[in-house]
């Protein structure tokens, strides 16, 4: 499915550009995007090193285990396949907390760390484990309490009440998150029996 979507976006983009008579845009877009990829990765290396360094400290101080013990019971229900003291739980909780607080660039390092830990417990290394799928469903539909960026955009556009969309946003993502978790739970249980 990913292969198909990837190809479709590329092919449709090129065909539409050709029909619009802007075929040269394809070249520019592709080159710019490739450069941007490197920029994003380099930026990410900086933040990621910072957070993974801090995460290592937290691990060695026993803090990650502590957090996992406090919030673990609720989270663990969603990840029945994980060991109760799995180091992945700590990283998952840190990732979700960062997402909820809207700390986007702190969330990614924890998320990638969580994936690495989940991969260690994955019996089939090139196939996604159920725990990974649950984690990604949670991660991509996660509630953000303050959508700071969009509030900034509204403020600049002279909104009478820039923050009035916080409530609607929380309801929308809350429903999406609930739906993702429920369907995931349903799928996992149906496959087991």
């Amino acid at each position: 499915m990913v292969n198909l979507i990837w190809l479709l976006m590329l092919a449709v983009g090129i065909i539409v550009s050709a029909f619009n008579g802007h075929i040269e845009n394809v070249t520019i877009s592709a080159m710019k995007a490739a450069e941007l990829g490197v920029e994003v990765a380099i930026e990410l290396i900086g933040v990621m090193s910072l957070w993974l360094g801090l995460m290592r400290l937290a691990e060695e101080a026993g803090l990650v285990k502590g957090i996992a013990r406090i919030f673990g019971p609720a989270i663990r229900r969603l990840f029945p396949s994980l060991k109760p003291d799995s180091p992945a739980l700590g990283a998952i909780i840190m990732n979700l907390s960062a997402n909820i607080l809207g700390l986007g660039n702190a969330a990614t390092p924890f998320g990638l760390k969580a994936m690495q830990e989940l991969q260690k417990e994955n019996p089939t290394p090139d196939v996604a484990s159920p725990a990974m799928i649950t984690f990604l469903a949670l991660n991509t539909s996660c509630i953000t309490l303050i959508p700071a960026t969009i509030i900034g955009v509204r403020l600049k556009a002279n909104s009478a009440n820039p923050t009035e969309i916080i409530g609607t946003t929380i309801v929308a993502t809350g429903c999406a998150m609930f739906m993702a978790i429920s369907v995931d739970y349903f799928i996992r249980h149906r496959r087991k029996t």
């Binding site: 990913v2 190809l7 590329l10 449709v12 983009g13 090129i14 550009s17 845009n25 394809v26 877009s29 995007a33 941007l36 990829g37 990765a41 380099i42 290396i45 990621m48 090193s49 360094g53 801090l54 290592r56 937290a58 691990e59 060695e60 101080a61 803090l63 997402n99 390092p109 998320g111 990638l112 994936m115 991969q119 290394p125 090139d126 196939v127 990974m132 799928i133 990604l136 991509t140 539909s141 996660c142 309490l145 959508p147 700071a148 969009i150 955009v153 509204r154 556009a157 909104s159 009478a160 820039p162 009035e164 969309i165 916080i166 609607t168 309801v171 929308a172 429903c175 993702a180 369907v183």
Partner: protein, 179 residues
């Protein structure tokens, strides 16, 4: 509201203070451990680089071609048929963009907010949509790629389902709360 904003503001400085202090008190060689952990950051960054570039190129070529505008133009009569507001079709590029690219979606949302006004129906809907759900497609490819997963199984369908629910609920709740 203000409490949550304050927590967001203080969260990182407090973590930066409390984690190293606790670690030091528990006899962890703080600086050396930090550096050891940080080393992983570089490796992870390099590992996700090809996935980032692959995705960004495909998404950019698609978006810059203007294909989304053509699509929303086609869908215009369909929404009129469904009894939704006429300019509802303006939201379609954002809805499609949201799971693909974070910066791309923000660009479309900003443009919609400036064009229709932040306190218009489209402006509020765009704001709500932008804040709800993440860039599913992008996160999946990069996260799975970083650990070498090739078969996603039902992950993508699940993520996109959540996005569709997010879209439907956004439309419903914005209409309900503001109109």
């Amino acid at each position: 509201m203000n409490v949550i904003a304050e927590i967001s503001r203080w969260a990182i400085p407090l973590l930066l203070l409390l984690i190293p202090v606790t670690a030091y008190l528990r006899k962890v060689p703080v600086y050396e451990s930090f550096v050891e952990g940080a080393e992983e950051g570089f490796k992870t960054g390099v590992r996700i680089l090809p996935f980032l570039i692959g995705m960004l190129v495909s998404i950019r070529v698609f978006v810059d071609s203007g294909a989304l505008n053509i699509l929303s133009h086609w869908l215009h009569p369909l929404f009129a048929l469904l009894g939704l507001e006429a300019d509802f079709a303006a939201i379609i590029p954002l809805a499609i963009m949201r799971p693909l690219s974070g910066s791309g979606a923000l660009g479309v949302a900003t443009q919609l907010i400036n064009e229709y006004g932040p306190d218009s129906y489209i402006g509020r809907l765009a704001s709500t949509l932008q804040g709800s759900t993440d860039t599913t497609f992008f996160v999946l490819t990069v996260y799975f790629g970083s650990v070498g997963i090739k078969k996603y199984r039902y992950a993508l369908k699940l993520g996109l389902l959540a996005d569709i629910i997010g879209l439907i609920v956004s439309v419903w709740i914005v209409t309900k709360v503001f109109y």
